[in-house]
């Protein structure tokens, strides 16, 4: 029997978390939520999610980038797939560094607003290739 996949949402937007949670739970995923980077890291270390959906602009404009670096240097989390989802580019149009230029150590960048079907497809794709054992 396959283990229910745990997905951690780190995003300061309550409505966004609620809608994504509903979407993912309908697909049978277990969803954990955190509204900030530091609490998100604590939960990630304790719960060892199978995938993390991470916002960038939270209390600080680049908070998610620092969270992402911490995830990548944390044993047990370093290989967990991370989808970064942000409106950074639309809110700061002068920032034109391509998200696929190799500087963002995420598995995928999805601009907000998210398209539900695309999110579900990418989550399934990344979970299929993720390490299977992430129990805390």
């Amino acid at each position: 029997m396959s283990e229910t996949k745990r997905i951690l949402l780190i995003d300061d937007d309550t409505d966004f978390r609620a809608s994504v949670r509903a979407l993912l739970e309908r697909e049978g995923y277990q969803v954990l939520e955190e509204p900030a980077g530091d609490s998100g890291l604590l939960t990630a270390r304790a719960a060892r999610p199978h995938l993390i959906l991470l916002d960038i602009m939270m209390r600080e404009r680049t908070e998610g980038f620092f969270v992402l670096q911490e995830i990548r240097r944390t044993p047990g989390l370093a290989d967990v797939p991370v989808i970064v989802s942000s409106s950074l580019y639309s809110e700061h149009p002068f920032f034109r560094v391509r998200e696929d230029a190799g500087w963002m150590p995420a598995d995928l960048f999805l601009p907000k607003p998210l398209r539900p079907q695309q999110l579900l497809e990418e989550v399934a794709r990344l979970l299929a290739r993720a390490p299977q054992e992430t129990a805390p």
Binding site: R61, T62, E63, F65, Q69, F95, R96, A101, W103
Partner: protein, 347 residues
């Protein structure tokens, strides 16, 4: 040298792209001081810091380092891969960049370059930043208040922007990646840079003359200053630990008692430790504290000048800041020059 500028309020986005070149370590508050460490958020980065407790050498020459693993009958395998992790040192002051350049000369040149240091240095990106000196900085006296090499990028405060000097092709790669955040500089920016540079030079409160110091040290080998310092020094080695250019290390083997294997490592040593000059048979060439204190000064201000053409001191003030006995290198130099009088050395 290519130059651009970046808005201060866009520096967080500029730093966000740096992980492309390695793990970012920046000056952040740690207790009562500052340390180069991975920031947890941008607001933790404090570019107005006076000095970090430990210099960047802690990255290039770690306090403890495993070098090789050996197995009886099979030889050894080096652990160079452990030194291969890319790092971006963000916000390094000019004197610390010069400190790195001095370590580069010691470990990276000559007939036997150190492969472990070389691997770390090769994987280290240096982004410098200028700073406002405090009473302990005496960098101009050591010709260390400005650097023209040793960095990939260097940021100079010009008001709403930082002027960005590109020092290497890797620095140019960063500029290429983050180009949208950078702007061309103007004549007004150059004027502002020159104005602030002059202001900074004039703001150093501490200076000491070292032009003829090697010769004076030659004459003062028997000075009572060294005995007085020996009476005060605790031989704790704090000054050597925090010095950006002190590089003594001790090599040790750790044997696995359950198997014919082990590892060889090295750890920071200090010429102020009683064991530093002790050799087989129990002889100790510098058994007295005064001899060890004198050795440190002579090595940095005389021997290194003869070998490399400059002192191995960059005027950062760290040794004076941490010495529990209150020994101040500037006062020691003044005392040996008879500018303050021997009795006041380090008081």
């Amino acid at each position: 040298m290519k130059m651009r500028k970046v808005r201060k309020d866009a520096l967080d986005l500029f730093v966000a792209v740096l992980p492309r070149f390695g793990e970012v370590l920046a000056p952040v508050r740690r207790g009562a001081g500052w340390a180069f460490a991975p920031p947890r958020r941008w607001s933790e980065v404090d570019l107005a810091y006076p000095r970090t407790l430990l210099p960047p050498k802690k990255i290039l020459l770690p306090p403890h380092e495993r070098m090789l693993r050996f197995r009886k009958g099979e030889g050894y395998e080096d652990l160079l891969a452990e030194a291969g992790k890319p790092v971006v040192l963000f916000g390094v002051h000019p004197y610390d960049i010069l400190g790195i350049s001095i370590l580069d000369r010691v470990f990276g040149s000559g007939r036997f370059p150190d492969p472990y240091y070389a691997a770390r240095r090769r994987n280290t990106t240096v982004v410098g930043v200028d700073f406002t000196p405090d009473a302990l900085h005496f960098c101009p006296s050591m010709n260390a208040d400005w650097v023209e090499s040793g960095f990939d990028l260097f940021l100079s405060d010009i008001g709403d922007h930082y002027l960005v000097m590109v020092g290497t092709s890797r620095g140019d790669d960063i500029v290429e990646l983050s180009g949208c955040l950078l702007e061309d500089i103007t004549a007004a920016d150059v004027a502002e840079y020159k104005h602030r540079s002059a202001q900074r030079r004039a703001s150093y409160a501490t200076e000491v003359e070292i032009g003829d110091l090697p010769g004076i040290l030659e004459m003062e080998y028997g000075s009572k200053v060294w005995e007085e310092l020996g009476d005060r020094c605790l031989s704790c080695g704090a000054c050597t630990a925090v010095c950006p250019t002190c590089y003594c290390f001790d090599v040790y083997d750790e044997d696995d008692l359950a198997a014919p294997t082990g590892t060889r490592g090295r750890t920071w040593d200090s010429c102020l430790f009683a064991s530093h000059a002790r050799v087989a048979g129990g002889e100790n060439f510098r058994a007295r504290r005064s001899a060890r204190v004198k050795f440190r000064f002579y090595h940095k201000q005389r021997g290194f000048v003869a070998e490399y053409g400059r002192p191995s001191c960059v005027g950062c003030g760290r040794c004076s800041a941490v010495c529990p006995a209150g020994i101040d290198i500037v006062q020691v130099i003044r005392a040996i020059r008879d500018e303050d009088g021997h009795a006041r050395a380090g008081s």
